[in-house]
């Protein structure tokens, strides 16, 4: 079992991450990945110039590792990984790439889904959307909280 998490201050390529995650993998039949991409518009349709993900060096990395380890402990999976951006992110840039590998696809789907719900509510980031008319700090959405509540801990 390999649990790998990385906080990326620079842009990264989800395709490269998937390539590495798949390398030499002939024991697991199923790999599910999630890629979160920075959108060009906010919830109200206004153009976004930038997303700033503020982070606390050390604490943020630990929160990524905790989410991945809880996922590994909960599901019958072989490996799990997360790469998460921080800092200034431009529209179209990947924010997060998460992947889970398992012998069976159901476990891979559920593990990746769970991991994303954890990250969306528990990862130690502070999100600020910057538009031409100013900046706004964002809190977890009701949808994120409801998604996370689906998993009875």
């Amino acid at each position: 079992m390999a649990v790998s998490t990385r906080l990326a201050e620079q842009a990264f390529d989800p395709a490269d991450e998937l390539k590495r995650f798949l390398e030499g993998r002939d024991r697991d039949g199923a790999v599910v990945s999630f890629t979160g991409v920075m959108r060009g518009k906010d919830r109200d349709g206004r153009a976004l110039e930038r997303l700033h993900l503020d982070w606390y060096p050390g604490m943020t990395e630990a929160s990524l590792a905790r989410a991945a380890e809880e996922t590994a402990a909960r599901f019958q999976i072989s490996d799990v990984m997360v790469v998460h951006r921080c800092g200034d992110i431009a529209p179209g840039e990947p924010i997060v790439f998460a992947a889970a590998a398992a012998p069976h696809r159901r476990e891979a789907f559920e593990a990746c889904d769970y991991l994303m719900d954890k990250l969306k509510t528990e990862a130690a980031f502070w999100k600020r959307e910057d538009t031409a008319n100013g900046s706004q700090w964002i809190e977890p959405s009701d949808k994120d909280r409801a998604d996370a509540a689906r998993w009875s801990d």
Partner: protein, 82 residues
């Protein structure tokens, strides 16, 4: 002097960090919050918001937790998640 860190919305008002003297006997997180708020009204308002959390050595801590000199304290608005 010890350095207290700020993140998220809280850092908008207080900057990235401020220096504060933590006495050898220690100080509670709540007392530290109050002392930092004495600097100016904006700092007080930012630190007293009900959703502002604190951590000691990178572990979430409540106002009753004690801080010793050399420990790393941070105040921040609620996490937005990834």
């Amino acid at each position: 002097m010890d350095r207290v860190l700020f993140f998220g919305r809280t850092a908008d008002r207080l900057g990235r960090s401020r220096e504060v003297e933590i006495p050898p006997a220690g100080l509670s997180v709540g007392a530290l919050r109050k002392r930092l708020g004495e600097a100016d009204a904006a700092a007080r308002e930012a630190l007293e918001r009900p959703d502002v959390r604190a951590s000691v050595d990178r572990v979430i801590a409540d106002d009753a937790a004690m801080v010793a000199p050399g420990q790393e304290v941070a105040f921040f608005s609620i996490f937005s998640g990834g």
